[in-house]
Symmetry: C2
């Protein structure tokens, strides 16, 4: 028997395969499955096509015991998952009184939605266990078989198929409130240890340089642990994983041996978003922050207030896209903009000081740069970004060159990352 239970995800929908929708569900589900000791083996995205769905199901069940599907459960004609699952499991649709009552309650104030198409939502596969979808009309369907399906599987095997809606917030509530509690009744964790991922977050070192620096340590890792390098926007997440083969203590020992080798680039020892790390540091100190943004255009603000509870440390921002706004709202001097331009050390320093003063914040960050694709000059090519940090002690600025080959979105994301990382480093060094 395998060391850990393994699952696969099949996401169903033409929209995924023509690029109209990015599959964000699978990554979210993967994290949750890992937490309860289920390893995700594969993610497969298929068309709203019966044969394609059926063959994907056969292939997945030839590899794993748990298959989760999302999508294709809506009330419209293009949604066919329910019908295909009836065919796969040899069952038919029957009316479910509880689902009917739930859907009628859900739309009691919207009689136009309680129409004949919505009524198909309370038809469910006869052999499936039906779990409620608290926030939507499509019920969650669980098929549990302990014997072979379609002669493909050996007798006695316990197989689960769970079909969920593709709408992310419906899927998330279904996973958290219904699917994981259900699965945990059946999935017996067979290994001595849980699945463990430990992540260190680094900034400012190239991937290959890092790999050489820790080569000796990496080569001496036991076979029960696996190391991965995940570069993103100038950071590298260094992840040590074990799938039920190493204890938390063994993992900690390795992490402790690694830390001194990379101390000068280490930002955090948890896999948290940068903004959560900064928010935590500010909350600990009871201090506040504001931002003045040109090229990042509100993305730094959005990052800082993305976490619940951010009003404890985040006051506000001025997105000063136009120069007039830099002058009139932030108090940047007209002469500064004339003499040095919007993308300059002088301007970001004045922006940071201006917003810190206006919003009575302890810290302020300002950004001004050329995100492209247009607007670059020989002196200041696309990718040039000035960032300033105003603290109770001083205001400093730094010029970054994020590269002419990068896209607008990539350049602004690098700027957001650099802006937050430098403040985290400065707060950490002041501890």
């Amino acid at each position: 028997m395998e060391k850990t239970m393994r699952a696969e995800i099949i996401t169903i929908g033409d929209e995924l395969l023509i690029g109209q929708v990015v599959d964000t569900n699978s990554a979210w589900m993967a994290q949750l499955l890992n937490e309860v000791g289920i390893e995700l083996h594969q993610i497969t995205s298929v068309h709203d096509n019966p044969e394609h769905i059926l063959s994907a199901l056969d292939e997945a069940f030839s590899r794993v015991d748990i298959v989760l599907t999302t999508g294709g459960l809506g009330p419209t004609k293009d949604d066919i998952t329910k019908h295909v699952l009836c065919e796969y499991f040899g069952t038919t649709l029957v009316e479910d009184a509880r689902v009917r009552a739930h859907v009628c309650e859900l739309y009691k104030e919207r009689p136009d939605v309680l129409n004949r198409l919505t009524a198909t939502q309370w038809l469910v596969p006869n052999s499936a266990t039906i779990l409620p979808n608290r926030v939507g009309s499509a019920p969650i369907m669980l098929f549990h078989k302990t014997t072979g399906i379609a002669n493909l599987q050996p007798e006695g095997r316990s197989m689960f198929l769970i079909a969920m809606p593709g709408v992310p917030h419906e899927m998330k509530i279904a996973m958290t409130e219904q699917v994981l509690p259900y699965l945990s009744k059946f999935t017996i964790h067979n290994s001595k240890f849980p699945i463990i991922h430990r992540t260190l977050l680094l900034y400012g070192i190239p991937e290959s340089t890092l790999a050489l620096r820790i080569e000796e340590w990496e080569n001496a890792l036991p076979a029960t642990m696996h190391l991965a390098y995940l570069p993103k926007d100038g950071t590298i997440r260094l992840r040590l994983s074990s799938y039920g083969e190493a204890s938390a203590e063994e993992m900690n020992m390795q992490i402790d041996a690694l830390k001194p080798l990379i101390a000068d680039y280490l930002i955090a020892t948890e896999d948290l978003p940068l903004e959560a790390i900064l928010g935590h540091l500010l909350k600990q100190r009871g201090q506040t922050i504001a931002t003045a943004e040109s090229c990042t255009g509100g993305r730094l603000a959005a990052a800082l207030n993305a976490q619940p509870g951010s009003s404890a440390f985040y006051l506000g921002s001025v997105v000063a896209y136009a120069n007039e706004v830099k002058e009139q709202v932030l108090g940047v001097k007209h002469d500064t903009l004339l003499q040095y331009g919007a993308v300059s050390e002088q301007t970001v320093l004045e922006m940071a000081n201006g917003v810190r003063h206006h919003m009575h914040a302890d810290y302020a960050i300002a950004t001004s740069g050329i995100a492209g694709p247009d607007g670059g000059t020989p002196d200041k090519p696309v990718g040039t970004v000035w960032i300033a940090w105003a603290t109770p002690e001083a205001t400093t600025a730094k010029c970054y060159h994020f590269g002419t080959a990068r896209e607008r979105e990539q350049i602004t994301q690098r700027a957001v990352t650099a802006a937050i990382v430098e403040l985290i480093k400065s707060l950490n060094s002041n501890l």
Copy 2:
């Protein structure tokens, strides 16, 4: 022979399967492939594991002729794609002088990166065609076989495998500059018509109500066309697709027949982001916009300036998270906040007027709401959002209830969508 060439994508990396990274590459590639008449049949995400990659390749080539892989091409030990491809295609690694020269040039100012691990990047599979990666060290590798591989394929078939880096901006440049021009030399479009997707964007109608309203039209669609409903944040994208079986004129006729049925909910007849539609309308009129944001926290600003050229119409924003910022920067009256609270019609009206005045904008949007998970009251539960629109003619406000069951991110995204849609509708009606 098939009507259109079909491709599959295999994304390689443990990070995808433990949920550390969302696969955004595939959707982007899918769009591009569709544009050149290649249908994407399946997306498969697999582990950095040789057996897993090999079996995914076998399965994909049993279905399609073009397989694109991303990921696993870095210089570190966890990157194994190149070695697995050598095994799959029965070849070995050799040094490539052009790649060596390119990588040395790329890092000429960073001698620490030109190390022994980076040097493995100029070892390439002997039988592959190597295309340059202009912005990174991992070359793009193309395998083209016209006969069977591993006895799986019939003779005479033309098969392509293209391996690209997983870093999104490297993949995008590779696809645009190298892969599509290469593929277009070999892929002969076999159908009379191209792949066509036509999308109508609607707002404010439930999916099932829409489906009933257009049922007769939908049932009368020819078998060569397929309709899909894609709900997101209160909008529905209604997509009519044909994979080389219908002409553009036939598609247009159907769309023209559909439009009058849904005119009251129709926002746009192109599949553009909402912010691009609004930006286009404002640019046409030579008018400008500013925003004042509380609960949306900069996301409305970020949406408005996401498109290149947005400085033509977008001036700036004040993210007023703290009440003091609403007063001091936006000029909301202290009494208004005291008497009505931050989440109120009076406050958003003053916020919108304040920012419009301060930034000398033609239009302004203001948002204030309770994004949760905390902060809800019986009167103003989580999901309550007030939005105001200030125009040269008037300032109006509307209260939305986005639902207590939704997540913080979902609520703010719904607010951004509603804020932009209502302004688009108002600008369209003024045409």
